[in-house]
């Protein structure tokens, strides 16, 4: 049993404990809107001490940072996936917009006699081009029809060139974004390294958990890092609470980006090869998820796929039209059997002459497709650029004949091996639809991942979040306890006074 002085000491320690609890409740309430903050509380325990043959009871207090390490780790991991899907969704939508494959019922003709309107997409340009030839075949001598053919051909070329240029821009902006994000990633790694050091300094001196606030900030930073790429985080034993950050290489090996006591390894990006690595490893990294992984995937897979499909379309259009339209020019005095014919008229500038004549594969793509502008061959004396006047519907001398126009219009009904046995318009629709399906699928994953992320954040909040009601009721509780302990102190003090004043 303790004496009165023991009672006083005990009451005093209780007052300090309650005071600390009130302080932490205040801190919790102050951070109620800080999403990175994990609530803290005082864990009180009763400790007995024997002094001068008397037993005293003290209230021992320990500050606890309420975090669930497992949930925190999951939040970091899931954050990578969410960021991946969000980034890819944005970029895929950007690419889809380039194709201009939208459904616009306002401009879509409702009646057969309505004037069709072009929404500027590649499919519409292609349809207009083939339909213009269809009408040209029906009325080859009509100048208006010839003008429409030329306008639609120019628009088709321009829409393919435009799409290619926009894809170039998207690719460049992806490169720039990756470089910027790599820089941000490395900056955060440097911040993380600093925090690691601060936590170690504090906790080695004051014990584990002493640097709760910095740990909170570090957790927020790790969650941010995960948005860039999937990182493995591990607390290193006996390091004063420091964490190591690792990534994996393509072969599955782990590479340390941050180790306690070392400066972080900067992440490097090779724009030409679209690969990531750190200087200490000869292997490329596999980012698995995160914004950087998504950007890299869009660049190396989605953009390449779309480009290849657009190029195949442009190449097929140019080659097939030229196969029909091309007319060799044999200069006077030249024996075609000895000297190859030089081109006189083509529709598209490349390939000139078409592969079936030249034997060389066509190199035309969406970026280089252009209308024929005349031959530069000095042997060609009357080479003319393709225009309204030189446009031919036939190779015969009859003005009303139309075999060329009819054959070119007929391309709309043919399927081509170069387009996966699809027709021209089916190919561009398929390209858009593939991309649309990719967006849909990615969007579904994004929705699921958002739910997972919300769930994880809720679980994290359940452990670490601050509840105002809870804190207020705790505050009342602590206040009452403090008042009660004060009362004890006062009673003991009066008892001592009584004893001291005994006469």
């Amino acid at each position: 049993m303790s004496g009165l002085f023991g009672h006083l000491t005990s009451a005093s320690s209780a007052l300090q404990a309650h005071s600390k609890s009130v302080e932490l409740s205040g801190k919790n309430i102050a951070n109620i809107n800080n999403p990175n903050y994990a609530r803290q509380r005082v864990i009180s325990s009763s400790v007995s001490a024997v002094a001068s043959g008397q037993v005293s009871t003290f209230v021992d207090r320990e500050v606890q940072n309420l975090r669930d390490v497992f949930v925190d780790k999951q939040v970091v991991e899931e954050g990578s996936f969410l960021s991946s899907f969000e980034t890819r969704d944005n970029r895929l939508r950007e690419i889809l917009a380039v194709l201009g494959e939208t459904v616009d019922r306002v401009n879509d003709p409702s009646f057969i006699s309505d004037q069709p309107e072009d929404n500027g997409g590649i499919r519409d340009s292609l349809n207009d081009f083939l339909n213009a030839f269809e009408n040209f075949a029906a009325n080859p001598t009509d100048r208006a029809n010839r003008s429409v053919v030329m306008q639609s051909a120019e628009e088709l070329v321009s829409s393919l060139n435009r799409a290619d240029a926009r894809l170039d821009k998207i690719e460049n902006s992806i490169d720039t974004e990756i470089q910027t994000e790599v820089k941000s990633f490395n900056n955060r790694m440097a911040e993380l390294s600093d925090m690691n050091r601060q936590i170690a300094r504090i906790e080695i001196a004051a014990g584990e958990g002493a640097a709760a606030d910095i740990r909170n900030e570090r957790q927020a930073l790790l969650e941010e890092l995960a948005e860039f790429a999937q990182v493995d985080v591990e607390t290193v034993a006996s390091s004063g609470g420091q964490v190591a950050v690792r990534m994996r290489t393509e072969s599955g090996e782990t590479v340390d980006l941050l180790r306690p006591g070392f400066s972080p390894e900067p992440l490097l990006y090779d724009t030409a090869n679209n690969t990531f690595r750190v200087a200490s490893s000869s292997e490329d990294l596999d980012l698995r998820a995160g914004k950087l992984a998504a950007l890299s995937q869009v660049k190396s897979e989605d953009l390449v796929e779309i480009r290849s499909q657009l190029d195949a379309l442009a190449n097929t259009v140019a080659t097939e039209v030229n196969e029909i339209y091309y007319q060799a020019f044999v200069p006077a005095g030249v024996d075609p059997a000895v000297d190859p014919a030089v081109p006189e008229f083509s529709f598209f500038a490349q390939p000139t002459p078409p592969p079936s004549v030249s034997g060389a594969p066509s190199t035309v793509d969406a970026g280089s497709i252009a209308l024929y502008t005349g031959s530069s061959d000095p042997l060609v004396t009357d080479s003319r650029a393709l225009d309204v006047d030189s446009l031919r519907s036939t190779n015969s001398n009859f003005a009303g004949a139309n075999e060329l126009a009819l054959a070119i219009a007929g391309l709309s009904q043919q399927n081509f091996a170069t387009l996966g046995e699809l027709s021209l318009s089916e190919a561009i629709i398929q390209t858009s639809i593939d991309l649309g399906q990719e967006i849909e699928s990615n969007g579904n994953q994004l929705a699921v991942q958002s739910d997972v992320q919300i769930l994880m954040k809720e679980r994290q909040a359940q452990v670490s979040g601050v509840s105002l009601d809870e804190e207020m009721s705790n505050l009342v509780q602590y206040q009452r306890a403090f008042q009660a302990s004060s009362q004890v102190f006062q009673v003991v003090s009066e008892m001592l006074e009584t004893i001291v004043n005994l006469r």
Binding site: V103, N131, S396, I433, I454
Partner: protein, 409 residues
């Protein structure tokens, strides 16, 4: 389960955002009338809508072609029907030639034929826009070129352009044959120089080797008098063939009124079937709305038959009129065939037009089903979403507005 203040706020904001997103989406559907706008909204639906839209645009292109084909077909048919009526009239003139005896009987018919020929040429040279209807593929060239007599022409020509020759009959009724020269003093047949041919052969007509004029024996006077042409002029063969081996040429003189008249019609259009103009009016369906080139060439023969008939009337040649009329009838079969063929084409085109309109409307319905929003359904959904939004705001504001703080004294 602990509900923390921050997460409860965040959850509230998420709920409000989700409802707002849905409302925006529905509002967009109501304002645009579409439930999908791009492949990202529903790839398979957009794929089908895009394919249907492509097909619609092709059908619209076909509709333009059908319109042109129908115009060409109708115009060709009308022109050919007019031409048939013209050729009917020409033929009727020939069929009612009984009782013709004098120039006053022949002349009006010959004049009618001249008019009919001009009308016939005009009807076959019908043009639509820049294209001649009866030229085959050679649509930019005048298909039926009228070859006309000029002021420098003295003789009539046949439809091949060759000068027409009349058969000059001798008084005995025997046609004067080749190289028939006569000595008018003896009646002996001679060569061009007047040297009696072996025989000697006494003939009653020939070319007077002295004057080069056609002469025949006048039975009354016993003299050889000049044989006159239809205009009463002396006939001087153009090529008396002094060598004595040629043909007696007796070109038919050109009446003055024939200067500027047509002596032949030449068809300049294409004739080969392979050159006929065809174009697409539906998927896998082409039409040739123009009159076929080979038939057009036949119409030229009808015109030339009418010209030959006119010339027979001009010559008051009964036998010739009958023969030319028969020939004309034979060539006119082409016109009837052509009319039937064009009528069938026009009917076919009209059928295709109906099919195309039907297909277009069906595709429009399909697209509408895939893309268009059901306004009633969407507005009901929008109201539902709005109610949920209001309820969320109301409940959220109440929850957020109160805490234990409000009850602590």
């Amino acid at each position: 389960m602990r509900v923390t203040t921050f997460s409860s706020n965040a959850q509230f904001i998420q709920n409000v955002n989700a409802l707002k997103f849905q409302q925006n989406n529905l509002s967009r559907q109501i304002s645009t009338g579409q439930k999908i706008h791009g492949p990202e909204d529903g790839a398979s639906s957009v794929a089908r809508a895009s394919a249907a839209s492509t097909e619609k645009s092709r059908i619209q292109a076909f509709a333009n072609n059908i319109h042109r084909a129908e115009t060409i077909g109708n115009l060709s048919l009308e022109s050919l029907q007019v031409f048939k009526e013209i050729s009917d009239s020409a033929s009727n003139l020939a069929l009612t030639n009984d009782g013709l005896s004098s120039s006053s009987d022949f002349t009006p018919r010959e004049a009618d034929l001249r008019q009919l020929i001009e009308q016939g040429i005009n009807s076959l040279n019908t043009k639509f826009g820049d294209d001649y209807m009866f030229a085959g593929a050679n649509t930019s060239e005048l298909p039926f070129e009228a070859l006309r007599y000029t002021e420098s022409d003295e003789f009539m020509r046949d439809t091949t352009g060759a000068i027409l020759f009349d058969t000059v009959e001798s008084p005995s009724g025997q046609p004067i044959s080749e190289g028939t020269y006569v000595d008018p003093t003896t009646g002996n047949q001679t060569d061009a120089a007047g040297v009696p041919l072996p025989g000697p052969v006494v003939i009653d007509a020939g070319i007077d080797f002295n004057t080069g004029e056609l002469v025949g024996l006048n039975a009354t006077t016993g003299d050889f008098d000049p044989i006159l042409d239809t205009n009463g002029n002396v006939i001087t063969p153009q090529n008396p063939d002094p060598a004595g081996t040629g043909v007696i040429t007796t070109p038919r003189a050109l009446p003055d009124k024939y200067i500027g008249e047509v002596y032949a019609v030449e068809y300049t259009g294409s004739e080969d079937r392979s050159d006929d103009v065809r174009f697409r009016v539906a998927e896998n369906s082409q039409v040739d709305p123009f009159s076929r080139g080979a038939q057009n060439a036949g119409y030229g023969e009808v015109l030339n038959g009418m010209i030959a008939l006119r010339d027979a009337f001009l010559n008051e040649d009964f036998k010739g009129i009958t023969e030319r009329a028969d020939e004309l009838e034979n060539t006119r079969v082409n016109v009837n065939d052509g009319i039937v063929e064009l009528a069938v084409k026009v009917n076919g085109i009209k059928t295709l037009e109906r099919i195309n309109v039907g297909r277009f409307n069906q595709l429009e319905d399909n697209i509408s089903e895939l893309v268009d929003a059901d306004l009633a359904e969407t507005i009901v959904e929008f109201n539902r979403m709005q109610t949920a939004y209001e309820a969320t705001l109301s409940s959220g504001s109440r929850i957020l507005n109160l805490s234990i703080l409000d009850y602590l004294r």
